[in-house]
């Protein structure tokens, strides 16, 4: 026996089997105990509950939902809300981050100071403190009757922000935004990827316009199809009785989350942007100056493309992080995926299945996001002999 233990080959196999086996045993024990405990409470296992009606309503939803609708629908709405919040939050955070990041790399001391103040203030305060703060601000606006109004079409009250909107379903609006984002991504990919480099500039320009135009057309088409019948196209909010009718209502929960994510994420993205611009070699800029390019051309043709390559891998991580940060909606009652799952657990008791769905959902979102961004990164990365330092 001792001889067997002393043989390296046996030890290797033994250790691996013990490790993997131990982890599996742990998981199986946990599931078995859970089964036993849940059976004792009279909760049957399996995914049948997905087709039962929920019996409760949901706070924020892009598509119509009634209390009689089944669980799978409420989970899908949660997922959609998370994606909706995440998409808008990411876009806004990127815009804020770009502006602050450019200020941080500016040659002007005052602009740099301003950027530094922003980054150091908002990055050093936990996101949830900021979320709760903005929520407290958002719910303390005057009640509906005394709402602040701008040009009689935008209203701010304690029940949220009312803006004029198109009479379309929320789902259609979301899909239209997705179509526009997709077109934008395609344009970036087409402009930067090496495989399209050899196409003539004239045709390249035309193709870019074509992508842009078709993206816009698809978005408009989606909006047209998603129109709510027998209403004017543009709806303007107006006070009727005790509440506003028409327009788009941004709930205080949603507004607080978007603002907090944009401000907090913007601080982090600003640092990534700054790092990207710092990575652009001084020689590159001097070379383009000596070629007689003007400042705008240097920025759009030399600095930005090179900086983007340095930024994108880190930006991917940051986006995944921000996507996960949407779960903070539960702190103020925004019905994102996480909150919907946790209400479902409370109501239905199907703990294991719902936790599995929760984890699966987030793995799916984050892996997809990372895969898409890595694909773009791979397409625009410098390859082989292009790397001359």
């Amino acid at each position: 026996m001792l001889a067997l233990w002393n043989s390296q080959g046996f030890r290797r196999i033994f250790l691996q089997v013990a490790y993997v086996g131990g982890i599996f045993a742990l998981i199986i024990t946990c599931v078995a105990v859970a089964r036993h405990n849940l059976d004792a409470q009279g909760i049957s296992s399996g995914f049948d509950f997905l087709y039962k009606s929920t019996g409760w309503n949901i706070g924020f939803s892009l598509i119509d939902f009634k209390a009689v609708d089944p669980y799978w629908k409420v989970l899908m709405i949660g997922l959609l809300n998370t994606l909706f919040l995440g998409t808008i939050g990411l876009v806004l955070a990127t815009i804020v981050g770009m502006i602050i990041g450019l200020a941080r790399t500016s040659e002007n001391d005052l602009a740099r100071l301003l950027g530094t103040i922003y980054v150091e203030t908002f990055r050093n305060i936990p996101l949830i403190v900021q979320v709760l703060f903005w929520y407290a601000v958002a719910t303390r606006f005057p009640p509906v009757k005394q709402a602040y109004s701008f040009a009689d079409s935008i209203f701010i009250s304690s029940r949220g922000l009312y803006v004029p909107g198109l009479n379309v379903t929320g789902l259609a609006a979301f899909l239209a935004i997705c179509a526009l984002l997709l077109a934008l991504g395609l344009i970036v990919w087409f402009s930067a990827a090496n495989r399209f480099k050899r196409i003539e500039p004239n045709i390249r320009r035309k193709t870019r316009w074509l992508i842009f135009a078709s993206g816009t057309a698809v978005a408009i088409g989606i909006l047209y199809l998603g129109r709510i019948p027998e209403t004017p196209l543009v709806s303007i909010p107006a006070l009727k009785g005790l509440n506003f009718r028409g327009g788009i209502r941004l709930t205080p929960e949603f507004a607080a989350l978007v603002i907090a994510i944009a401000i907090y994420g913007g601080g982090y993205i600003a640092e990534i942007v700054r790092g990207g611009f710092k990575a652009v070699g001084r020689g590159q800029i001097e070379a383009s100056q000596s070629l007689g390019l003007n400042r705008f051309q240097i920025f759009t043709r030399v600095k930005f493309p090179l900086a983007l390559r340095a930024m994108l891998p880190i930006l991917t991580n940051q986006y995944v992080w921000l996507m996960k940060a949407t779960t903070m909606g539960i702190a103020i009652g925004f019905t994102d995926f996480f909150m919907v799952v946790s209400i479902s657990i409370n109501q239905s008791g199907q703990t294991l299945e719902l936790i599995g769905i929760l984890m699966g959902g987030f793995l799916l979102i984050n892996f997809t996001l990372a895969a898409v961004l890595n694909r773009i990164n791979k397409a625009i990365a410098l390859k082989g002999d292009q790397l001359r330092m």
Binding site: V33, D109, L110, A111, L114, E120, I125, P126, I330, I345
Partner: protein
């Protein structure tokens, strides 16, 4: 000679013009930035100091009349925010425990204590001192159950315990992940990557709410400790990747040399690999610790009475409901002081190491 002596010098006015007013765009940028900075300074000064009310004498009524901040809510409720539901006459213990932690953090920032043993002694000793100060039961201190802990000291306790459990765990994960045995490294990689792609909240929720179903009742323990284990697990998954990055920076020759000298695995790891790996990973580790401190605030969602929750309670009831900005500003300041100083320290270390490697 005369021409050599003559070097045209910029006057102050000229250099100012070059830096701030060289072009029209630059001038506009300067003026805009100066305006915004001035406005921020003026507003903050006006709100926080000039127009603010500090004493509780007039009560909430005096605050409503004032133009600026109402710091009297902090004067009136600071004990609630910092100490939560901890018994009033024992507040000095909670405060002293937080001081212990500050001393401990400062000590471990000094290079003279940078050895595995010294750091371990400081942290474990500090943690035990913190725990017994808070809990009592020895030296004639009355016992205060964990359920009554709250405010800043609860935040600090969760943070300390997370790092103390998570750090050794992360070393284990990192070693397992770079194991030569494919099944061990593969399985560990899957575990680490899965934890990293989940939101911290869902892990906390699972540990707080779901675990009692999954574990036999004798093994599930107090909710506070389950949440700490969950946070430690999350921290260790991130920290393991940082340490692994540090290990990859150790030249392969080091380990080969140690092997050829016949040094056993544990000695190789503890005396050669880990010290160098930790040195490489130090800035990233400090960054991760800072992030963990900020993430501690998430436990409010699981229903703990940490500083954010006690802050909500401080303005949430009675006469102070209008003073939420001041309370959040106070909490933000507490976080800011800790996070800002640690992250500045991390940046300083990074510069110092960059110099030493030149």
């Amino acid at each position: 000679m005369a021409s050599v002596d003559y070097i045209p010098r910029k006057t102050v006015l000229q250099s100012l013009r070059d830096r701030y007013f060289s072009t029209l765009a630059n001038t506009a940028l300067t003026l805009l930035s100066a305006f915004i900075i001035g406005a921020i300074i003026w507003k903050v000064l006006n709100w926080a100091i000039l127009g603010a009310v500090f004493s509780t004498q007039g009560g909430a009524e005096a605050c409503r009349a004032a133009s600026g901040a109402c710091w009297s809510v902090i004067t009136a409720r600071w004990r609630l925010i910092l100490f939560g539901l901890y018994p009033h006459e024992e507040h000095w213990r909670s405060g002293l425990a937080c001081v212990v932690v500050v001393v401990m953090t400062v000590l471990s920032c000094l290079p003279r204590f940078w050895s595995g043993r010294a750091i371990a002694i400081i942290w474990v000793g500090g943690f035990l001192a913190f725990y017994f100060l808070m809990k009592g039961g020895i030296l004639g201190l009355t016992v205060v159950e964990e359920a009554k802990w709250g405010g800043l000291s609860l935040t600090v306790f969760i943070f300390l315990a997370t790092v103390l459990i998570g750090m050794p765990l992360s070393i284990v994960w990192a070693l397992l992940r770079r194991s030569e045995l494919p099944w061990i490294s593969g399985t560990t990689a899957v575990i680490i990557d899965s934890i990293r792609s989940l939101p911290l909240l869902s892990i906390l929720f699972t540990f707080a709410v779901v675990l009692p179903f999954v574990l036999p009742s004798w093994a599930s323990g107090d909710k506070l400790y389950r949440v700490i284990v969950g946070m430690a697990l999350f921290f260790s998954a991130y920290q393991a990747e940082i340490i692994r990055g540090g290990m990859q920076g150790v030249p392969k020759g080091q380990e080969e040399a140690a092997k050829s000298l016949g040094i056993a695995y544990w000695h190789r790891v503890s005396r050669i690999l880990l010290p160098q790996a930790f040195k490489n990973a130090l800035p990233a580790t400090i960054n991760q610790i800072v992030i963990t401190f900020k993430e501690t605030s998430l436990v409010i969602i699981i229903g703990f009475f940490e500083i954010l929750a006690s802050g909500n309670a401080a303005y949430g009831t009675g006469e102070w409901t209008f003073a939420f900005v001041e309370v959040y500003a106070f909490i933000a300041l507490v976080y800011f002081v800790f996070v800002f100083s640690l992250s500045r320290y991390g940046a300083y270390l990074e510069r110092r190491m960059a110099v030493s490697e030149r």
